[in-house]
Each structure stands twice: as structure tokens, then as C-alpha cells.
């Protein structure tokens, strides 16, 4: 009987999936084909390494001359201010926007409208939005702030709407049953449930805005980006390194602070 059981053919425990085999080999083939198209060859890679070594060599030591430091300080302060202002106004706009996009609070015409607008705001990279605003309102910090407000509203209001949609409807129902109007339901049933996570999103977005505020200057939107770009173009790689170190220090500092803030609001 045992022998018969062993002999009986069972279905394979891990059946081969021809679809996934085909997909993987297709991907591998395409990667080889695309590399040949882009002339990604071993000699080209070695030449790149050689060039990179020269570049690194010219970066050291970082340039700490007083006039450069002054320039960097002004640029960094402007970047920081761009990040703070963009976060403040962007988060302020995201609050009503996120509520309007939440399908469990807003009527369909409103939530679909808000969702459409958010999708448009999210469809461009901050660099492209920055270029648009530099062309529209001229060079300087204003363009950078406006561009980062757009990306802040796009990110925060989308995720905030999801947080609102995940809240516990029973708590809201109970407050509604007391005869409370919409705004009072918001104040005493919706906000208490979602505010901690909203603050978390806002702080996270501030980190992200700080990173992006160092970039908007490259296209003329103000901040440290402009001196950084100039330094690259003049081959002042030692100044580039100084700027990069200062940016790293500021970002680390802010991550530390924002981590603390998030923990307080849990």
C-alpha cells in the first residue's frame, strides 16, 4: 500500500510559471539590447572612473574661504526660508484640499474635482514646476516657494485624504447622532482622529521641501542652488564640496528635529 502511495504521481508542489520565466528573460534581453544601443562598454566605464578620480581629487580640500562661506550662508538661509514658507502655506492649503478629496466626507462632485486637481499638481517634477514659475513670476525665491507649494499640496493633500478615508466611521457616526453640524463633527470627531498623522505628513514634507529648496535655485528659483550651479560651471569643485557638506549637515539636523516632533504628536 505504501509503495503504491509513493508511486502515485502527485502534482508538483512548486509548478513552473512560464509567464514569469518569459518576462524575466525578456527583461534581461532588453537590458543587453539597450546597453549596446547606449554604447555602455567596459572601456567607456573605465574612462569614466578615471575622470571621476580627477573630479574627486579637485574637490579636496573643501574651500572654507570667508567670502565663499558668506555666500554659502546666505544661500542656505534663503533655501531654508523657501522650505519653511512653502511648507507652511502648502500644508495650510492641503488641509481643506485633503478633506475635499476624501470620499467619505465630501460629495462625489467635490471629491472627484479635488482628486483631479491633485493629480494635475502631482504630474510634474518640482524642477519642471520651478521652471514654469521662474518664467511666470521671474527669478528669485518667490518662484521657488510657489513651485514647492505646488508639490506640497500634491503630496500632503493626497495622503491626508487617504488618512481621512481610513478613519473610524463609528466615532463620526456617534458625534453626528448628537445633532452636531458638519463643522462640529470635523472639530470633535474627524480632526482628533487624523491630526496626529497630518502633522506627521507635514513634517515629512518639510524634510522633502528642504531637499528640493536646494535644487530650485539651479533653474533660478532662489536659494543655495544658484551658487552650487555656478561653482560647478566654474570648475570650483572645492566650493561644490563645501556646499554639499553644509547641505548634508542641515538635512541631518532637520531629520533629527522632525523625528522628535513626530514622536511628540503620536
Amino acid at each position: 500500500m505504501t509503495a503504491a502511495t509513493l508511486a502515485r504521481k502527485r502534482p508538483p508542489a512548486f509548478p513552473a510559471s512560464w509567464t514569469s520565466r518569459l518576462a524575466w528573460s525578456g527583461l534581461a534581453l532588453y537590458a543587453v539590447y539597450a546597453s549596446s544601443l547606449m554604447e555602455l562598454t567596459w572601456p567607456r566605464f573605465l574612462k569614466g572612473l578615471e575622470n571621476g578620480a580627477k573630479f574627486l581629487d579637485r574637490m579636496f580640500p573643501p574651500n572654507f574661504e570667508a567670502d565663499k562661506l558668506e555666500l554659502i550662508r546666505d544661500g542656505m538661509l534663503e533655501s531654508l526660508q523657501i522650505a519653511v514658507l512653502a511648507t507652511f502655506f502648502g500644508v495650510l492649503l492641503s488641509l481643506p484640499m485633503g478633506l475635499a478629496a476624501a470620499r467619505n466626507l465630501a460629495p462625489p462632485w467635490l471629491s472627484w474635482g479635488a482628486r483631479g486637481l491633485i493629480a494635475v499638481l502631482r504630474s510634474f517634477h518640482p524642477v519642471i514646476v520651478s521652471i514654469l514659475f521662474v518664467k511666470a513670476v521671474g527669478f528669485g525665491a518667490l518662484a521657488g516657494i510657489l513651485a514647492l507649494i505646488v508639490s506640497t499640496v500634491g503630496f500632503v493633500s493626497k495622503l491626508f485624504a487617504e488618512v481621512v478615508e481610513e478613519m473610524n466611521p463609528k466615532q463620526v457616526e456617534a458625534v453626528r447622532a448628537t445633532g452636531a453640524g458638519f463643522l462640529n463633527v470635523l472639530a470633535m470627531a474627524v480632526f482628533p482622529q487624523v491630526m496626529a498623522r497630518f502633522v506627521g505628513l507635514a513634517v515629512y514634507q518639510f524634510d522633502s521641501n528642504l531637499r528640493n529648496s536646494t535644487m530650485v535655485g539651479i533653474v533660478g528659483g532662489g536659494g543655495i542652488g544658484a551658487p552650487l550651479f555656478t561653482a560647478y560651471q566654474r570648475f570650483d569643485y572645492d566650493v561644490v564640496l563645501t556646499i554639499l557638506l553644509v547641505i548634508i549637515a542641515l538635512i541631518l539636523l532637520c531629520e533629527l528635529v522632525s523625528g522628535r516632533i513626530r514622536r511628540v504628536f503620536q
Binding site: K170, V175, T178, G179, A180
Partner: protein, 257 residues
């Protein structure tokens, strides 16, 4: 058993609810709830007890029928008029439905939100007399004053349900609805909560309508029992009159007796 129409706090006439057309969950229910005491609604799960209670304060919209309360038809109200009527109807829930991240006293004060301007709600500027009453109610439902500032999610089930009852009482309602108020609680706490509901109902003369699974508790605390099965009322009378034959009609079968 029904009281004279003139004295009734709540008159339900031919109430019908269909979640899907042609499949009524409530089949033309007519009931009068008069001015005092605790009325228990018993019946098997899925028989429409919860739907009946939720139709009264319009957490569920009825398909047809009238719900007469304080001179208006609740079934036809909407917007501001509905909110004004809801202010007069307190509700206690099976899972308490407190706002977990708010303190006990904020939850109790929620009972006044129908009367409060939004800016006051956002800034928690409740009138002093409301705050004083909220403290009184926290003690009246058997919690200590020190509970007022504790967060609702730090409380046990029985304590949360006491807060839920305080929130309903805070509305100074003309009627209290309780939807399975003891189903999430242990037997001892269930008795305490029913005791509290019947005591508050009697002392403040607020008629209270309770959905309940526990027939023993219903007999013990209710002055009137309504038995429902299949979306219709099959028994309406005092607990003493509820016979095994009636229970058989309500629940079907007799193994549970």
C-alpha cells in the same frame, strides 16, 4: 399595551425599510413609546432591531412610514431640521463609539455639539454650565472626577460605556436609543450597565429604547418587551407576559430554552 397617542413620545407608523428593493428588513412596523421607563427590543440577529433603532434618529433612512417625534415626522426631516431633532435623541452604541483620542470630558461634552458654534467646538470653549454638568454626569454614571481628563482609549469597556451613557444624557434628550449596549461587555458589567440605563431612565424620566440579545436582562430591567422576528413585531407586552411559547415564536426552535 400601547399608550394613548397623545401621551406618546414617539409614534412609529407603518415603518418599512428595504436595503434592496423588494426585500424589506422592516415590514410595516407600528409602535408607540410612551413617556417613561425602559423598553427592550429582543429578537434574533439580523431581524432588523438595529435598523429599527437607527431609522429613528436617521442614521439609516427608512423606505416608507412615519416616525412622529416632538411634533415632526423624523422620516421626512433633513438638514438643519434633522440635526435639531437629533439633539433631542441620545444614542448609546454597542462598541461605545467614543472618539478614542479625546478625553472623557470632551466625549461627554460632545453631547452639546448640536447647540455649539463651530469656533467654540474647535477651540473647546464650552460654556461653563455645560462643563459643570459634564462633571456632574461623569460622577452620576459612576466614574470618578479624575477620569475627566483621561483619554477614552485608556478606559475599560464598562467605563467606556458609562462615558457613552453620559454623552447621551448630556444632550438632555427626550428619548434615549441604546443599540446592543451590553453585547461587548462581560456578564457582570452588562448588569451594571443595564442597571445604570434603567436608573437614569426612571430618575430623569427619559423613555429608553434598548436592543438587547440577553432575554434575562431584558426581563429584569425592562417595563415592556417588544419581540421581533423577520422584520415584524410578534410580541409587545410586559416581561411577565412573555411565555416560552412567545420566545419560541421570536427565536424559532426551542433548544435554547
Amino acid at each position: 399595551m400601547t399608550a394613548a397617542a397623545g401621551r406618546a413620545v414617539l409614534s412609529i407608523r407603518n415603518l418599512r425599510k428595504e436595503y434592496r428593493a423588494g426585500q424589506p428588513v422592516l415590514k410595516d412596523i407600528s409602535l408607540e413609546i410612551d413617556g417613561s421607563g425602559l423598553t427592550a427590543i429582543i429578537g434574533p440577529s439580523g431581524t432588523g432591531k438595529s435598523t429599527l433603532i437607527r431609522c429613528i434618529n436617521r442614521l439609516v433612512d427608512p423606505t416608507a412610514g412615519e416616525i412622529l417625534f416632538e411634533g415632526g415626522d423624523l422620516a421626512r426631516l433633513s438638514g438643519g431640521a434633522l440635526r435639531q431633532a437629533r439633539r433631542r435623541i441620545g444614542m448609546v452604541f454597542q462598541e461605545y463609539n467614543l472618539v478614542e483620542r479625546l478625553s472623557v470630558i470632551e466625549n461627554v461634552l460632545s453631547g452639546r455639539l448640536g447647540y455649539l458654534a463651530p469656533w467654540r467646538a474647535f477651540l473647546r470653549r464650552f460654556p461653563d454650565e455645560d462643563v459643570a454638568r459634564a462633571f456632574d454626569l461623569i460622577e452620576a454614571v459612576g466614574l470618578e472626577e479624575s477620569f475627566a481628563t483621561r483619554r477614552a482609549d485608556a478606559l475599560s469597556g464598562g467605563q467606556r460605556q458609562r462615558v457613552g451613557i453620559a454623552r447621551a444624557l448630556m444632550q438632555a434628550p427626550a428619548l434615549i436609543l441604546a443599540d446592543e449596549p451590553t453585547s461587548s461587555l462581560d456578564p457582570k458589567t452588562s448588569v451594571e450597565i443595564m442597571e445604570l440605563l434603567s436608573e437614569m431612565s426612571a430618575r430623569r424620566s427619559i423613555p429608553t429604547l434598548v436592543n438587547i440579545h440577553n432575554v434575562g436582562l431584558a426581563r429584569r430591567y425592562a417595563g415592556r418587551i417588544i419581540g421581533m422576528t423577520g422584520g415584524a413585531v410578534v410580541y409587545d407586552g410586559p416581561p411577565a407576559g412573555l411565555s416560552d411559547a412567545d420566545l419560541k415564536t421570536i427565536y424559532g426552535g426551542e433548544d435554547f430554552l
